[in-house]
């Protein structure tokens, strides 16, 4: 059965490797380092991976079909259930798409709230990745530190959004609840605290020789390879391409903030690690500036109860925590989309795994996969 699944792939010569010695190994669907129900079918030659084939669909819910049967409000909770680790950018792309199609103005204050909460969500998502990635590599302690920090933000976000994970906070025309002085105060306290924690991360992890030996030079992705597969987010930035939707096609009010796009130089797992760490700092910078500029005013604009879409198509791209997220909507009039395509970043980021894994040690594959920061419900949709 397994041999039928991989028979399309040209055999790879690994010396000394008589074909008969190859065996098959299932990594997942319940392997801890696949983070969700992803199965990777491995053709192995001893400890070396000859061929790796991800098997998808265990968490498939047909979100795109649901999108064709629900109006925007009814679909909102779905947007938080694809990339559960960073749901607010998914909220953001979806409501902004409807605002673009219907020409709805969003109040200034709402845009600032969106940016602040989205960036907090990005940091939370990177916390989760950082802890889990190091856990994959066998380091147990860091996840306790990162989850401690994650809790601080989750408490802040819970106060305004009402939930700790699958957020459904944004609305067409704004957000559903205003932020108050307490939110601002707590967020500022978190920024101060998080800056000190980076030193802890660096002392504990970045300079650690065991960590460096596990990730340096492992899982090399060249810029050309990233382009062929359409990889985005920290994966493509780790390869040295400064591509970030927040700068490339500025949406919302991201053009008002001064922040940098961190990039790597070699495109290995270490570069992707460093890029994400630096991104957390850049997100803090954005939040800081947004809090300073936060205007008064309404947090939700006037939006008709029934939102009638014009005939035609439109797309909206946002920078989610894992890369470029694009909603593409085709409308035949009425309230409900005719077609809703959701382009998720992890899908393209994972599709390069077969090429990446060829000839790798299985322990290195765990490190390389961890550095891609996959969220499986997002891939399966």
């Amino acid at each position: 059965m397994e041999s039928a699944a991989v028979n399309n792939v040209a055999p790879i010569a690994l010396e000394p490797a008589p074909q008969s010695n190859h065996y098959f190994l299932n990594m997942g669907p319940q392997h801890p380092s696949t983070h969700g129900v992803l199965r990777v079918l491995l053709e192995m030659d001893g400890e070396y991976v000859v061929e790796a084939q991800p098997v998808l669909g265990y968490g498939h819910r047909m979100q795109e079909k649901m999108g064709e049967h629900k109006n925007w409000m009814a679909f909102m909770p779905n947007t938080g259930r694809m990339d559960y680790a960073a749901a607010l950018p998914y909220n953001h792309g979806f409501v902004a798409l409807f605002e673009r199609l219907c020409g709805i103005e969003v109040p200034e204050r709402a845009e600032y709230i969106r940016v602040i909460t989205s960036e907090l969500n990005r940091i939370v998502s990177h916390h989760l990745w950082l802890g889990a990635f190091l856990l994959d590599l066998g380091a147990f302690t860091p996840i306790l530190y990162t989850f401690d920090d994650r809790e601080q933000v989750l408490d802040i976000l819970e106060d305004v959004t009402g939930s700790r994970l699958t957020y459904c906070y944004f609305r067409v025309g704004g957000v559903c609840k205003d932020i108050d002085d307490k939110f601002v105060e707590r967020t500022r306290a978190f920024i101060k605290r998080q800056r000190e924690r980076f030193k802890v991360y660096n002392d504990l992890v970045t300079g650690n020789i065991i960590f460096l030996k596990r990730v340096e030079g492992i899982g090399h992705i060249s810029p050309e390879m990233a382009r062929r597969y359409g990889a985005t987010g920290p994966v493509v930035r780790g390869s040295g391409i400064p591509y970030d939707i927040r700068k490339a096609e500025p949406y919302s009010i991201y053009d008002r903030f001064d922040f940098e796009i961190p990039t790597g130089s070699t495109g290995d797992s270490l570069d992707r690690y460093l890029v994400r760490l630096e991104e957390m700092e850049q997100s803090l910078r954005i939040i800081e500036q947004a809090l300073d500029q936060l205007p008064d005013g309404p947090f939700l604009g006037k939006v008709p109860k029934k939102l009638k879409l014009p005939t035609g198509d439109a797309c909206f791209s946002v920078e989610a925590a894992r890369g470029a997220l694009t909603y593409y909507l085709v409308s035949g009039g009425g309230e409900i989309p005719y077609r809703l395509k959701i382009r998720v970043p992890s899908y393209s980021n994972l599709s390069l795994l077969p090429e990446l894994a060829r000839g790798m040690l299985i322990a290195d594959l765990v490190a390389a996969m961890g550095s891609l920061d996959l969220v499986i419900p997002e891939i399966d949709r």
Binding site: G57, G230, A248, T311, G312, S317, Y328, S348, L352
Partner: protein, 179 residues
């Protein structure tokens, strides 16, 4: 317009493919292209040469024939292109998975959801859906819900697309409907 984009649009003209500029603020992309399915390979090769990356491949079920929607964008400059390619009578279209490796999974997914066959794809097996659901085609519309392409297009754009609408009266074949 960015000079690299200008060069790309010019080269597409040589391939007899016209990219129509769109209002980014309204639609979120810069150019739209309507082509016959068989033109997609030369178009994809041109886009690869101009260092575009594949954003996604998806389907669209409309009368009289399904469209395959491709979106490309650039890492270097704001240039997002939406391509709508018409499938042939057998609901087939050439694969571009050997040009853009990332298209492999997107094409398999589109095959799962619409039953569109990407000819010469090396391994067109179900990816997202289970192997036994090969004929499910969950995103095909019911006959009552199915719309014409013109009913789901921007009004002014469809009126001003002369050469893309003209050469496809042969693609009239009715497709089997699935719930």
């Amino acid at each position: 317009m960015h000079p690299a984009t200008e060069k790309l649009i010019h080269e597409l003209k040589d391939l007899a493919i016209e990219a129509v500029a769109c209002d980014y603020a309204q639609r979120g992309y810069h150019y739209e292209i309507e082509i016959e399915g068989k033109q997609i390979r030369s178009l994809a090769e041109c886009l690869l040469k101009h260092e575009m990356y594949l954003v996604f491949v998806g389907g669209l079920h409309v009368k009289p024939a399904c469209r395959v929607i491709y979106q490309f964008a650039s890492f270097e400059r704001p240039c997002r292109i939406v391509i709508r390619a018409v499938v042939d009578e057998e609901c087939q279209i050439p694969t571009i998975s050997d040009i853009f490796d990332g298209a492999d999974w997107h094409e398999r997914e589109t095959r799962d959801f619409y039953g569109i066959v990407f000819s010469d794809h090396p391994y067109l097996k179900p990816l997202i859906l289970a192997e036994e659901d090969v004929d499910l085609k969950p995103l095909l519309k019911k006959e009552a819900d199915l719309k014409e392409m013109g009913e789901v297009s921007w009004a002014p754009a469809s009126a001003a697309a002369p050469e893309s609408e003209a050469p496809k009266p042969e693609a009239k074949k009715e497709k089997t409907e699935q719930g």
